[in-house]
Amino acid sequence: MSETVRKSVLAVGPFHPLQEEMEFFQLTVDGETVTDINVRLSYNHRGIEKLSETLQFDQIPFLVSRICGICSASHPLAYVQAVEEIAQVEVPERALYVRTIINELERIHSHLLWVGLAGHFIGYDTVFMWAWKYREPVLDLLEEITGNRNNYGNVKVGGCREDVPDELKPKILAELDVIEQKTEMLTKAVLDDPVLHARLKGVGILKKDDAVKFAVTGPTARGSGVDIDVRHDDTYAAYGALDWKVISQPEGDVFAKAVVRLLETFESIKMVREALRKLPKGPVAAEVKEIPPGEGCGHAEAPRGETFHYVRSDGGNRPVRHKVRAPSYVNVPSFKASCIGEHIADVTLTLAAVDPCYSCTERVAVVDGRRQVVHNYASLLQLSREKTARLRKEIGAPEMKLEDL
């Protein structure tokens, strides 16, 4: 008689109290230990890439800022940089500084948000309330500069829509002092707490080679000792002119990620201060008449990692292709490396530790539960070639051999 091995599958989602967004995790468990993890997405898919082909170049920043509410400064920035690469626009220097200020303010509130949520997940609600209380002034500042607490819509092709008014500078600096002081208090409370050390250290370790293998970005990579940062490696906006350093921690556990985020908050505060001091005079936007045919790439360091936009133009007023790759898209698969072998109670925290943003990540997923088809690299390549050949035939393209290229 053959023995059948039964696996218990724990379903988490799509609506569950842990995270606000819809996502569906299937945890295969052996007692309390997780042996496999499967993520199902596409609950949140809205078809933004397709929608953006129907909008004009000037309208798209407002759409892409709604890819994700928390990265709503980085996505438009990456898109705008891609379009500026096509049109070869010289962006005024003041606009570059304003972009930096908005992006760093966003990073401050996003990292504080994460610290709060991480505290909430381990049942330390005091940290949750503190962190969210201290991020409120940042939102108020952003509202004063751009007109909205989130979804700033502040960048446009060629510059910025709203300027940082000079009379607001003293207020921003005063608020930053308060935020820095409170964050320092929060950091000390978190980093010196023996309970948090016991709870977070050694949990959900993502090793350096795994981090490289899964190509993770942002604080997830920097928490595993991979010190990549778009702001440093391929500087954009005014980051090259500012004095700051890339924070990285070698451990790869949840504690390291928390340390990276908290220390980055201080770097961001420092950067905003310096950018405000150096803010040059001049116009805040250059005039852009038309977008010539061509293609461009833009990337920016969102609070969660590198966000990448590719835009192709055929000379009309709308892009013919717009491709978005958000940071969580590469961070989410790293759960395979960091969650397997952990306890269920630690997995929730590990899932939260990469600060996943599913609204960024969503792709259409078609799940056919009855048939099981597993594609490997070779079969996917084969499928792709067959489709290209079919399309060629349909549009009557001339036969082309690989040797001709």
Partner: protein, 143 residues
Amino acid sequence: MNWKMWSLKKSVWVFHVNCGACNNCDIEIVNLLTPKFDVERFGIKLVGSPRHADALLVTGVGTKQAARRLQEVYRQTAKPCVVFCMGACACGTGIFEGAYHVAGPVDEVVKEVDPNAIIAYVPGCPPKPEAMISGVVKALAAI
């Protein structure tokens, strides 16, 4: 007013349903619970199950994947309940109008299950927390 409606207006417990939002409205909703706004003062509490809830805070456009799940969540909620459409997307699909994966505004999705559902709208992208509080107060005063 029967006793069920009378009791609905006291200490509203809410369940938060994201059906394809960009996270903004969601974060502003969580923001309501934190010290600056602190709606728990008024007995408004975020609960973990629709079966405990008096009101659903729905955010997002209602994508094709999410619409069926939203209907299921609505069925599970104890009646009478109020459905709050939070944000421009939930009120009328907003900027995502016409996208291929959008199943329609939230109110139509809910009305497929219950044509007499009580639906309140709080527009804005995202609505400010003050607007959300004001919307909840107005809706509860009206029923």
